[in-house]
Symmetry: C2
Amino acid sequence: MSTDLPAVSDSTIRRLSLYLRALEGLDDQAEPTVSSRRLAELAGTSAAQVRKDLSRFGSFGKRGLGYSVAPLQNHLRDILGLQRRWPVVLVGAGRIGSALFEYPYFRERGFEIVAVVDRDPAKVGRRWNGVKIQSVEALPTLVRECRAELGILAIPATDAQAAAEALVDAGVRGILNFAPVQLHLGSHVVVNDVNLTLEMEALSFALRTASELGSGEGG
Amino acid sequence: MSTDLPAVSDSTIRRLSLYLRALEGLDDQAEPTVSSRRLAELAGTSAAQVRKDLSRFGSFGKRGLGYSVAPLQNHLRDILGLQRRWPVVLVGAGRIGSALFEYPYFRERGFEIVAVVDRDPAKVGRRWNGVKIQSVEALPTLVRECRAELGILAIPATDAQAAAEALVDAGVRGILNFAPVQLHLGSHVVVNDVNLTLEMEALSFALRTASELGSGEGG
């Protein structure tokens, strides 16, 4: 299975992550198996979707018995590439960068921020829990030394493209981008944008629509 | 137009936000009109997609001339519900909460964090730029006083459902949820989950797949 991963949509991958999180929330001593219906409830989807998603990666469930919790956890970790440690380089030691550095769930999952750079000389040289903040000029060397394939951009939009290119030139192939800008990189690089303003705008759009269709309040 | 919004997919709304951001990056003095092709480039999509998305909300473009930058910006702000101020209540004054409070792009868009609560007595009473952190018990009163319809949850998973219910009971209808948990709320409430671990997992999945299909390195 681990050598034969099918092409799947982004939304499928996201659901696999949610299934894993749901399974980890179960006590596999008390509950050694889980039905697709229960897993769906926990992950906020339908039982049919659970079965469809999981069947793409092998036959994990037993008819009438459901899925074995511990083995399915392992399968999902394997599929998601979580059976290893991922060293990560963080670009930007501002508020967002600092919050990400301390984010406990990254380390739990094997994503370890091993290097931090910032362009602000006042920040360079400070230590965050043993990791010394370095200047952006050190970026290529750091990426190579850490053998980092993942990078996080937590910097203003104006600096993001250049930093992304530096990361990629040094060997990074996956970027989590918090800068509100469209990055233009080679097709071999995977970029996930986290656009917080856009998330708020999706809410304001929904509320605005609801107000107009509903009671007429707001707007 | 503003009273007749069609039902559109989440991905369409997200593209509208990207179009707005792209238009705001243009100098409308030097460039009073923009083609669907250029707008597509800036927003990372196709010209056909731009035309399709925008045509759902009215006929903004002129054949051969493209879109007028300033009026289209206004139309998009109107569609997205950004022609007003949105008071926001923030639950959680930890690292993520603090980063969000300082996030400059929220205020620019009219999303103003007007109240902050935390369950940690050591944090209650501190001031963030004029906003006093209050205890979670004050949540219902604060929501009502601020007439907040939007809330942000930046707290651990274990506390999120109760806090979300308190927000909704007091009048919040849209929640940006950073807690890694599936919230169960009424269908009249809109929840957008920002799951940072899941974003990283989508990267590790992609890199793992690429490694196996490609040079065989990594894994």
